[in-house]
Symmetry: C3
Amino acid sequence: MDRCGSYLETMRSNAPLVQCITNFVAMNTVANVLLAAGASPAMVHDAEESGEFAGIAQAVTINMGTPSPRWLEGMEAAAQGAMAAGRPWVLDPVAVGATAFRRDIGARLLALKPGVIRGNASEILALAGAAARGKGADSADSVSEAEEAALRLAQSSGAVVAVTGPMDFVTDGKRGFRCANGHALMPKVTALGCSLTGVVGAFVAGQPPLEATAAALAFFGLAGEEAARGAEGPGSFQVAFLDALHRLSPEDLDRGARLEAA
Amino acid sequence: MDRCGSYLETMRSNAPLVQCITNFVAMNTVANVLLAAGASPAMVHDAEESGEFAGIAQAVTINMGTPSPRWLEGMEAAAQGAMAAGRPWVLDPVAVGATAFRRDIGARLLALKPGVIRGNASEILALAGAAARGKGADSADSVSEAEEAALRLAQSSGAVVAVTGPMDFVTDGKRGFRCANGHALMPKVTALGCSLTGVVGAFVAGQPPLEATAAALAFFGLAGEEAARGAEGPGSFQVAFLDALHRLSPEDLDRGARLEAA
Amino acid sequence: MDRCGSYLETMRSNAPLVQCITNFVAMNTVANVLLAAGASPAMVHDAEESGEFAGIAQAVTINMGTPSPRWLEGMEAAAQGAMAAGRPWVLDPVAVGATAFRRDIGARLLALKPGVIRGNASEILALAGAAARGKGADSADSVSEAEEAALRLAQSSGAVVAVTGPMDFVTDGKRGFRCANGHALMPKVTALGCSLTGVVGAFVAGQPPLEATAAALAFFGLAGEEAARGAEGPGSFQVAFLDALHRLSPEDLDRGARLEAA
């Protein structure tokens, strides 16, 4: 792929308007992460307007972390709006295997053709129809166990699929990348996975989805590595993480990305 | 107007109970900003109780950032409750021009006679019926373009209207002030505009709305200036901003306010 | 009781999945507090799935800070699910005396047999049926005034009841403890009471509720004391508080707990 930093450069110069339908826990963090990274987030979820707004946004992200029937209507309208407008949309299937309601939501949203799917290993295994052992929103499965499921899911759905964890894997069903960036404090802060989904949305707006997603993973993980220097725990880590997303340059990303073709 | 700091002093000695109906992204930040500033926030939104609670609160603020039909009912009940109790209420018309649903909500809430309206240039232009170019919740118009619209909106609605941006403008339709306080990192943190609306609510509780709003703008912007010293990005800025709101004294505000009659 | 630190040790080695139904203001903070402390939070609230999920969780916490009819259904389903699964659930009756709607919710949830109730003095007085003077979500009554109400409420409901404030009191209706840990900056940060409720949920998962709640109060307050060293206001305090929750060891808690039998 091209210089990893070029995807960050393009994202920042586009400053894409990213419509984020995300969960109540994550909204503030996702918005701050997108602003720090250089995008323009908009949280617009209700069915009264989510489809209309998807026609204005450059990308749409849909995270099912705190679902309800009313929000599901808004998610479906937004996904349809994005499709109609020819814009990519990103699915984040939070804890999709945990309850019957979530399994149903996952299936319905998958049918609306996301351009990218990002989840942890348990979520990707569950969405691909394999047995998964997630505990709530946390993964109990490893990324390597989920790689085959990701390939299968990418092939059956047509989406780029990213499985994130200590080592990330992203594939379009043919080619793929592994990304080693990241830090052990990241899962100690809530909503960072949800925020990564937002950043993926910003990167894929107008850029090739496989490579742009890989670059987003490296950018996000590298900011985590930077933030961990000097952090004394999850509180100071989160503060430094937002600063790092804001500060990292395309050249820093070229130097620090640990991506390899899978 | 009186010493700017006297409005802060009075607000802190009242420690007003401010009922905030705000969006999901902003709730935590608005509550923390109001606590740090010295007020007592209460987030009470549902139509089952929002009107009743407005009779207890010293001021009500209504922000339409993540609207839904059910929340609109709660907003209308709260505005009516505030009117019935003779308490001021503040409207924050987030992204009011972006969708048909928001245009309708803006018109309905405007009809319920807010005492103060605070928005960015695009929002005030849209609410005043002029052409605006907002992108999601961000403004694509300058405050100076919106000054005339603000005057017109103040005259037609009877509200004090504040347009905020790099240079703020506030008017009651006759007199006005410009406020130069603030810092470029502020729009890089989500929900600060929404939080300013909360602070305006706290200042106008029992104080003259034009002057109290002007003092709130100066206080908020000055805290931003203080916070920016030593901040390394939007993460550390937000932390320092809460500390500064808590630390700034009425005398600091007298010294630091950059307000002038317009 | 046993070494206070042993309850922290057990909680961390269990890393319990705690289902939190909490308010919109608090969700992010509660999740970060639980992660920092060593538990695994899951925010699952809608009636479509809250009862089913309660069968997976090791503990359930229900906070009525931003209630609506739909959320009340989800709360009731979760409480019933916890009872059916034999898991403890913790009630946080936010501002229960403020409106008719909240008084009704408090009574309905109390009937579903919480294992622990945690509130401020005004909330415990209101729930026990005494006259209370709360202002919004803040208490206007002292913990000592509420001690008798807490004893009575514990006896009538069968729950362990914790009244928190500058000096905390917890009782099962027969025995009790007072906890002196804490810091004056804690009420200047929103959602810390709600977060304490989450931590209580994590501690009581599989541990005796009276002692585990007392240990949770001491742990939380001690983290506040640690965080206050060097904090310059509520912003830096909140960051240091998450770091302290993450860093404090069982031995630190043994040394720093200021608990005594009441």
